[in-house]
């Protein structure tokens, strides 16, 4: 019996390790390719390790395109949007979860179903609307467009639903007003949800490509995701530099993930199971 379980345990570890290696390979590739020359990336026969480590790629990327500007822009957009989106989501989620009003649940369902609607359907009229308000080719426009998020409301509502109604009722009887209840009782109880939403929003806005591509024209307003494409020109692509810039773009996201991953994973699970 014992040898059987230890054998099956070894098998499980074997399978998991092989798959984990498969998961990590693209990251390793990215890192190694970022130290190669562009020709070396596609060498015949294939080589994983760079012949000479071209650390200067990491200096080159900042000179060849205004990558620093793109980093500043992306950071600004991501931080501001994340803060606003988390606030608006918590606020609306509390309304949908804990304030009773007529038609609330049907309204919520309609609101949340729109997550699945492809952007292409309303992309052009939305652009026209934004352009009328002179909000295209501006960071403000992008921020306003993403200030509210149906997904954020959905996720936060999942967590808010878990707060016992008696707790809020007790606070009401103690004379706390609704904002006080929201800020001092509800919010502290949904911290894991907030952490989850922070990472989700951060990663999404940081990696957003289509939004800035459609809304931003001026080079000085562009983001990293758009910038990376500038290493590809009609004369060819600088594959090593693309990878070096990609590695740099991943670092902030990895740091945020490592900091909040415990809550993050819990949060996805909550969103998926109770949904």
């Amino acid at each position: 019996m014992n040898t059987k379980t230890s054998k099956s345990r070894a098998l499980v570890y074997g399978v998991l390790t092989i798959l984990a290696v498969g998961m990590v390979i693209p990251f390793v590739w990215m890192l190694l390719a970022s130290f190669k020359t562009s020709n070396e990336v596609f060498s015949i026969p294939m080589k994983l390790m760079p012949e000479i480590w071209h650390g200067e790629n990491y200096q080159e990327i900042w000179k060849k395109i205004p990558l620093l500007t793109f980093f500043v822009n992306t950071t600004k957009l991501t931080l501001i949007t994340t803060v606003i989106q988390v606030l608006t989501s918590c606020f609306a989620a509390y309304g949908f979860a804990k304030v009773k009003f007529k038609g609330r649940d049907i309204l919520f369902v309609i609101y949340v179903t729109t997550i699945a609607v492809p952007w292409q359907v309303y992309m052009v009229p939305q652009f026209a609307l934004m352009s009328k308000m002179q909000l295209t080719n501006s960071h403000l426009g992008l921020i306003l467009m993403q200030a509210f998020s149906a997904f954020g409301v959905f996720l936060m509502r999942q967590f808010m639903m878990g707060i016992p109604g008696e707790l809020l009722e007790a606070a009401r009887i103690d004379g706390l007003n609704e904002y006080g209840i929201f800020a001092r009782i509800a919010l502290p109880l949904v911290k894991p949800g907030i952490a989850t939403l922070i990472i989700f929003t951060f990663v999404n806005i940081w990696n957003d490509f289509m939004g800035p591509m459609i809304y931003i024209n001026s080079t000085e307003l562009k983001t990293i995701q758009l910038g990376i494409r500038m290493f590809i020109s009609q004369y060819g692509a600088d594959y090593a530099l693309i990878m070096a810039a990609s590695v740099c773009s991943l670092i902030p996201v990895l740091i945020i993930f490592m900091l909040c991953q415990r809550w993050f994973i819990e949060g996805i699970a909550a969103g998926g199971v109770k949904g």
Binding site: A33, F42, I44, V121
Partner: protein, 281 residues
């Protein structure tokens, strides 16, 4: 009491609903209207009836081809992603050490943006294909397989986490009871665990379906439709119609509306189907 509650509804929910109306409902209604119009800007629209819808299906538009490619891609991905994610979840819920490290590693691909992801995979696939003197854009088959592998790599970890949460909610007494009744591991899995995690299956199927169907960034970065738009998916096809050439805005809009209807119909029927298999706990 009633009055105060109404006030709070206004404060908490109405800002979101106003934003929703401006950012979604108005442009959406306009979008549907414009799909029946000829237009270059939203203000010069002229009603043309179903013309755009007819045009969308003409051969040169590539809509039907993109639709077929997208459907094929989505079916393959739904099967592979969910099978692999569920298997991983089963392995990672067997009280073994180090599950957290594995979970973190499997989840990491979700942190990369679609563009970076597409370029990285394009390089890796091309580096291999170069050994055989070919590239990913030389054959639509390579593009298809490439997209499937990429999508699996990115989404398995996410779905795995939802499945793990589902599996952890299955009461242990139920599994114990099945064991005592002499059920094999396979029978326990099919007859006990699977029905109990149907709500996770529902969500995961829906997420894979909608993410695969709407895929854009990865498609654009990996092949950009090459060769000759044969690996172009629906979202990219619509994007190219909007921004590729002028005069086809209405057709693009009609395609987008059909895209929406297809996503909605498939999504709703899938949810209805998997939901009907769910058991009350």
């Amino acid at each position: 009491m009633e009055k105060t509650l109404k006030k709070y509804f206004v404060v908490f929910t109405v800002p979101t609903l106003i934003a929703f109306a401006f950012a979604f409902i108005i442009p959406f209604a306009q979008g549907v209207y414009l799909s029946f119009c000829d237009f270059t800007t939203v203000s010069n629209a002229q009603w043309v009836g179903f013309k755009n819808y007819m045009l969308a299906f003409s051969g040169s538009q590539g809509f039907t081809r993109a639709l077929l490619f997208t459907v094929g891609f989505t079916i393959v991905c739904i099967i592979t992603i969910n099978l692999l994610a569920f298997t991983l979840a089963l392995l990672l819920t067997r009280k073994i050490k180090g599950t957290n490290i594995f979970r973190t590693i499997f989840f990491m691909p979700n942190l990369i943006g679609g563009i970076v992801l597409g370029y990285t995979w394009q390089q890796m696939i091309n580096a291999i294909l170069y050994q055989f003197e070919t590239t990913i854009v030389s054959n639509a088959k390579y593009g298809f397989i490439g997209l499937v592998v990429l999508m699996n790599w990115q989404m398995i970890g996410y779905m795995m986490i939802i499945y793990i949460a589902g599996l952890q909610n299955v009461p242990t007494e139920l599994i114990e009871a099945a064991k005592i009744d002499g059920a094999t591991a396979w029978q326990t899995l099919i007859k006990v665990k699977l029905p109990m995690v149907m709500s996770s299956v529902s969500i995961c199927m829906f997420l894979t379906l909608s993410n695969c169907f709407k895929l854009f960034d990865q498609n654009k970065a990996l092949t950009n439709g090459a060769p000759r738009d044969k690996t172009q998916m629906l979202a990219l096809n619509i994007y190219d119609t909007f921004y590729g050439k002028t005069g086809y805005e209405g057709v693009g809009q009609a395609k987008a509306v059909m895209f929406f209807i297809i996503v909605a119909v498939i999504g709703i029927s899938q949810l209805a189907f998997t939901r009907s298999k769910e058991v009350e706990q």
